[in-house]
Symmetry: C2
Subunit: 312 residues, 2 copies
């Protein structure tokens, strides 16, 4: 297994990324290698600073970097030799099994759509956030930012692809799928939510349990939370903020610790023909280390292959 | 000043409501009286149970009750002698200065629109939630549930009426108005958010500070948070859930205490020709007591009169 990591993406790149990779490398099972993509001399310098001799890490040199503020489509076409451009080339050619980056989220999303492409039958791939639950474990919420506006058919399909992902990555039989809404009754919500409910209800491939409300986000009500990328992104970022708020107030709690973005480190794109993981822009070494652990699990789960099989 | 309270509305009514009124009555300034609307014999029984002799409370008998599950418009026309029906009649006739209820939210919203009506020029009145901030104090977020789908013009006006409300009720000069969105840049967001930004930016009557993200909800970034009633409701209910989650985990914290719905107890409808306060469905005596305190402040602030003046 080869786990590709963009050394150059993220606010603290390349230093924090390479240091996270160094931490992860010693913990990875022997079947896995890390492919670090970026400016070779810089990567080697950071190895040297850390007195680190790579054993299970390959470096693929990338001359260019797509910056955080760049326009995704333009940057990808103008910088084919950027770390993100090369990462998706390797992923498409199956030289690597997953590509992870804390860089420009738009470029990661567009790069996935243009290179490995959406699975046939998938209307809109989504970014899925892992949401910690008070009982332990995680739910996945999708979308958390790839599609700010979603049609009911798209939301309904999120329920299906999210359910398959939860089943294979979290080993949950018959995952409970819920629609994030403003009331429990079927007729509640925005026009879009009202139109989505009957589609989810009619889908025999999923275990749809109905609407959940904001108060249920962390409450072990659902394994898969369906929402548009606007609502999902706002909820997800609010959830992540709890750790910083409580830490500043001197409060330590196991559940609150799980809201720390570093504890997961990455969010997969679901619905594309391959494994892609988007890390937080401010990723620390710990976040990158944990993301690589999840990346390994995701490849092992063969979730995207299961989704492709189920839809075709 | 007369503060009308629906004795019959809410999951724990009439017991919890009347007990909350008893608590509030002893704390109210002498210029204020409470008008308790509901079945007179039941209210008197609860007074007796509590060995309470009312001094600054008047009872207005209401034979009927609008139940939580009833259709708002139908219920209001079929039950003119319900506590909510009578409350709005008294409010319209200026027999009372504010009407508060923990009953059917839809009936409260529709009742306000049909009786005292929207202020001329207000496109859509909104329910405004008080959101605690880590630095102390509160921001207001609107809408939190009256309008699940909002046009950009409606959202832009929320910024204006919310700003006037914050200015007069919270005594904040030049309140900071922000749009809840999925990124800080102007071009980010759903189609609606993208179209709303320039309207807010062009409005010279408000101090628009741009977009905020989910992580900024509690972070003292804005005094007025503009969002549609779908996103706002989900965020608000998530915020309220934090108190229960942390309490169950044995954690006490001043900020978390403020996320307890009981600490405010009610949410005003902004943009109508009068003062209306909607309390939480599960309102406890403490929640009702605190809501009455805020109701007093709201009447004193003359916020709705200021909004009517500013718009006309």
């Amino acid at each position: 297994m080869k786990i590709a990591v963009d050394a150059m993406g993220g606010d603290l790149a390349p230093q924090a990324i390479v240091e996270g990779v160094i931490q992860a490398a010693s913990e990875l099972p022997s079947e896995a290698r890390i492919v670090l993509i970026g400016r070779e001399n810089i990567i080697l310098d950071i190895f040297k600073q850390n007195n680190f001799t790579p054993v299970n890490i390959d470096i693929v040199h990338a001359e260019d970097v797509i910056e955080m503020g760049e326009h995704p489509t333009k940057a990808l076409s103008q910088k084919p030799n950027s770390s993100i451009g090369i990462g998706f080339r390797l992923l498409k050619e199956k030289e690597v099994d997953i590509f992870c980056s804390a860089g420009n989220t738009g470029a990661m999303h567009v790069g996935a759509l243009f290179s490995i492409k959406a699975i046939e039958g998938v209307l809109r791939p989504a970014i899925a956030g892992f949401v910690p639950q008070v009982g332990g474990g995680h739910s996945i919420m999708l979308d958390i930012g790839a599609n700010a506006d979603c049609k009911p058919e798209v939301l309904s399909q999120f329920g299906e692809i999210g359910s398959l992902f939860a089943q294979h990555t979290f080993q949950i039989d018959n995952p409970r799928v819920a629609l994030m809404n403003i009331g429990e009754e079927e007729q509640k919500g925005s026009l879009t939510a009202q139109a989505t409910y009957p589609l989810l209800k009619a889908n025999k491939k999923i275990n749809f349990i109905g609407n959940i409300e904001g108060k249920d986000l962390f409450n072990d009500k659902a394994d898969v939370i369906v929402t548009d990328g606007f609502t999902g992104n706002i909820l997800f970022k609010l959830g992540e903020s709890l750790y910083d708020i409580m830490k500043k107030r001197g409060i330590q709690d196991d559940f609150i610790d799980q809201t720390n973005y570093e504890s997961i480190g990455g969010s997969p794109i679901i619905g594309v023909n391959g494994n892609v993981m988007i890390a937080h822009g401010v990723s620390s070494p710990l976040a990158i280390r944990n993301m690589i652990g999840w990346a390994y699990k995701q490849v092992k789960s063969k979730a995207y292959q299961h989704i492709a099989q189920a839809l075709n």
